[in-house]
Amino acid sequence: MVMSREQFQDLLDGYGADPTHWPESERAKAERLLDSDAEARAMLAAGRRLDALLERHTRVTQADDDAVGRVVKRLAGPLPRQQMTFWRWPTVLLDWEFSPAWPRVAALACCAALGFYVGIAGLDRPLDRLNQSSIMSRDISSVVFEPEGLTGAGP
């Protein structure tokens, strides 16, 4: 398939006059046109001149220290509030710096673990697993209530 001059001009404008920047699919066709058409070669030369002109003219010069200093100075004031997303909050909490409180956190964790162990091992032990004879031998008179005087109700 042959490339027209209009298509070649679009190629030059869209991708520049450097053939290495042209799409692979277009390069062979463009090179065949250049081999056979003097006008296309003139278009390429004009494209190179325009590219050179634009490269030189649009070259971005980095701002000088004075300009940077002015902007930095304006940024030195109180900064606005950052936009926080909901999913970010767990990360923020995990990012909290706990290091100064580590000893207290460790002590709290030990207390919690001890309380948990005592609760599991002692207070919740089922009655049927207790030593029945030791219970029967104890004097429990002090915990037996006297009948209620008025109603006559007893335990």
């Binding site: 679009d10 002109l53 971005v60 940077v68 902007v71 509030r81």
Partner: protein, 182 residues
């Protein structure tokens, strides 16, 4: 300590102001330069650069390192410039003095200055997106795909912007480009 852009952004996301200052000082020279090239006005360029860096600060917690930080910042600067272009009237070309070397000269230098002035005028008259596509392509050395990413559009749309932009420039600079004086 990791001092990369991405590491600094992670610290900024946690509200680290010194990291923000470091990142600002690193990228402000290029950001101001790019904004100045697109807007053709130094004062506006500094305003845009300041606004861009404030957006870096406020958006840092939501920023995802899907693309290089510089690409993202370039997109922010370009969008702010295009917004400003949409809102404001065209800058008087005579006031875009920092683009043209004001050094007076004679002969060839005067011709070169005149050519620069014509080119400045022609580029300033381009629609904002065509102009931005040309600036990003030629000043930043971006490929069409990279320009498309910055402008948040397709590669074929960038191609169209460049084609139309250069057609406009050729019409405006008829006789200037043909001079074989490069």
């Amino acid at each position: 300590m990791d001092d990369s852009d991405e590491a600094l952004m992670a610290r900024i996301a946690r509200g680290d102001e010194p990291a923000f200052r470091t990142l600002s000082r690193r990228h402000l020279p290029a950001a101001i330069g790019l904004a100045r090239r697109i807007l053709g006005n130094a004062a506006d360029a500094e305003d845009v650069a300041q606004e861009a860096m404030l957006r870096v600060w406020t958006h840092a917690p939501r920023w995802q390192p899907l693309a290089a930080f510089k690409t993202w910042l370039t997109r922010v600067v370009v969008n702010l410039c295009l917004d400003r272009k949409r809102r404001a009237a065209w800058v008087d070309l005579d006031k875009a003095g920092e683009i043209v070397d004001p050094t007076p000269g004679a002969g060839e230098q005067a011709e070169a200055d005149e050519r620069e002035r014509l080119l400045t005028a022609a580029i300033d008259k381009l629609p904002a997106r065509q102009r931005t596509a040309i600036v990003l392509t030629y000043s930043e050395g971006m490929t069409n795909a990279q320009v498309a990413e910055v402008l948040d559009t397709s590669v074929s749309a960038v191609e169209t912007l460049l084609i139309r932009g250069k057609q406009n420039l050729r019409r405006a600079l008829a006789g200037v480009i043909d001079n074989k004086d490069e």
